[in-house]
């Protein structure tokens, strides 16, 4: 690290822009053009564009512990390592035909990618992107997260199986820990790495695994939500990475219902339901507050709603722009950055006044990723 720093100082000092600290930077996925917009959170400004990332529909990324590098997981199976300081792709491998997401190990040494075609998980050296392990699966893998001790967990859409892989020794150990249910669409890990929650599309319910336990057992809950009405078409699969955990509750997207479901995080008992504007896609907790922010599936995706987790009421309904795809909060919650794909803008809102502070031009923006994610388990 010291040597690397000295190297950077020696070679880059004459170019101050290149010596920039990265703690308040972020990247915005520009999905149609296969590019990334490098942004500065403090300056509320775009710093530059990084190109050549391939098909970035449904792309996501994770950051190295030093917040210098982003690992970008593209739909086309591309895994790219991007240098935020030099503003370029420094390594790239086309590691599968079709992939969906990834994770970095707790020690920052390994990057794992969740693949659709061929299904499975591939693990790479974070430094070089050299292959380390290849774990095939009987279908499309989803919900890949990092666990403490250089481990990862993932789930298979086609079979419902949930796996934990331990990569701390040269030979990986992969264990099937149980079956979540029919067609799990995504999964998420609580910030304390305690509970791995798997959302189901093929049947009603959510399945929890207690990963602090030596022998985790699947526990299914919410198995009969919305049983009194007919389900509506789901025009975009909800995402679970932003699942909110506030006030001792999980805030979960109902699938096929225009509702947010509140569940006690200890007992998994339902605590309430909030009728909302559309099919929820992301439900994200505003840090240091009782509020969660929700966006919605097409065609109702011009709206964002804010819900108070104490009484489950909608306290604000905003219409920031066309095709709102993602929201990312400043780590201490002061601002939320919102991508409007069809207005080609990223909108910055003050979370107290809920007024727009600024906007940044971007090409079909989707995911927004601040470097502070580098220090959050499960991200």
């Amino acid at each position: 690290m010291k040597r690397a720093l000295a190297f950077v100082l020696l070679t880059l000092l004459p170019l101050p822009a290149l010596g920039q600290a990265t703690g308040d930077l972020g990247l915005v996925i520009e999905r149609a053009t296969g590019s990334l917009l490098l942004i500065d959170r403090s300056d509320r400004a775009a710093l530059g564009r990084i190109e050549g990332l391939g098909d970035l529909s449904h792309a996501s990324m994770t950051y190295s512990p030093d917040e210098r590098f982003a690992y970008v997981f593209g739909r086309d199976g591309g895994l790219s390592k991007v240098d935020l300081i030099d503003r370029k792709v420094v390594a790239r491998t086309l590691q599968a035909g079709n992939s969906i997401g990834g994770a970095i190990s707790d020690d920052g040494r390994l990057v794992a990618v969740s693949n659709y075609e061929p299904g499975g998980v591939k693990v790479f050296d974070a430094e070089t992107l050299a292959p380390v392990a290849d774990i095939p699966a009987a279908g499309k893998t989803i919900g890949l997260v990092d666990l403490p001790g250089r481990r990862f967990a993932w789930t298979v859409w086609d079979t419902g199986e949930v796996f934990v892989g331990d990569f701390s020794a040269p030979a990986p150990q992969v264990t099937m820990i149980g079956n979540a249910g029919k067609n799990p669409f995504d999964a998420v890990l609580t910030a304390d790495a305690h509970t791995y929650l798997v959302g189901l599309f093929g049947e009603k319910g959510v399945t929890a695994f207690d990963l602090w336990s030596d022998a985790p057992q699947p526990e299914k809950f919410l198995t009969d939500y919305g049983k009194t009405g007919e389900d509506m078409p789901v025009y975009k699969m909800p995402h679970l990475q932003g699942w909110a955990f506030t006030e001792g509750q999980f805030a979960l997207p109902a699938v096929g219902r225009h509702e947010v479901l509140w569940v006690d995080s200890e007992t998994h008992a339902e605590r309430g339901t909030t009728p909302v504007h559309g099919q929820p896609v992301f439900i994200i907790a505003q840090p240091a507050s009782p509020y969660v922010w929700v966006n919605f599936a097409t065609p109702l995706n011009d709206t964002v709603q804010v819900i108070d987790s104490r009484d489950h009421s909608v306290v604000a309904t905003l219409t920031p722009g066309k095709a709102i795809l993602h929201m990312e909060f400043a780590p201490r919650g002061a601002e939320v950055w919102i991508s409007s794909r069809d207005d080609n803008k990223v909108l910055i809102y003050d979370t107290r006044s809920r007024e727009k502070l600024a906007e940044i031009a971007a090409q079909s923006p989707s995911g927004i990723f601040f470097t502070a994610r580098a220090h959050q388990p499960g991200l």
């Binding site: 739909r75 086309d76 079709n98 078409p233 699969m237 069809d342």
Partner: protein, 102 residues
């Protein structure tokens, strides 16, 4: 109103679906962006199957239009009938089966 339009469309039985140029541009955007959420921006597949011209070689536009309108029960493919007319679904089906040659 939509059902009337649909009924007229059936009576007229057009060989190719007619939509206005503005609507065609909106539909093309929808295929790329919204269908692309599951099928990939380049339509090479994702949670949904690939929709490239090669992948659809054995599909008819009529059959594809029905899948778009009514979805595929038991899968993640939803029915788009609440959002699209039959002409619009047929336009998308025609677009998917011919787009690479345009």
């Amino acid at each position: 109103m939509r059902s009337l339009a649909a009924a007229l469309a059936l009576v007229a039985a057009p060989a190719m679906a007619e939509v206005t140029p503005d609507r065609a541009a909106a539909l093309e955007h929808m295929v790329t962006q919204d269908c692309g959420s599951c099928h990939g921006l380049t339509l090479k597949g994702g949670l949904g199957r690939p929709l490239t011209r090669e992948a659809l070689a054995n599909s008819t536009p009529e059959g594809l239009a029905l899948i778009i309108l009514d979805g595929v029960p038991g899968t993640a493919m939803p029915p788009w009938r609440p959002l699209l007319t039959e002409d619009e679904a047929r336009w998308i089906a025609d677009y998917l089966t011919t787009k690479d040659t345009r």
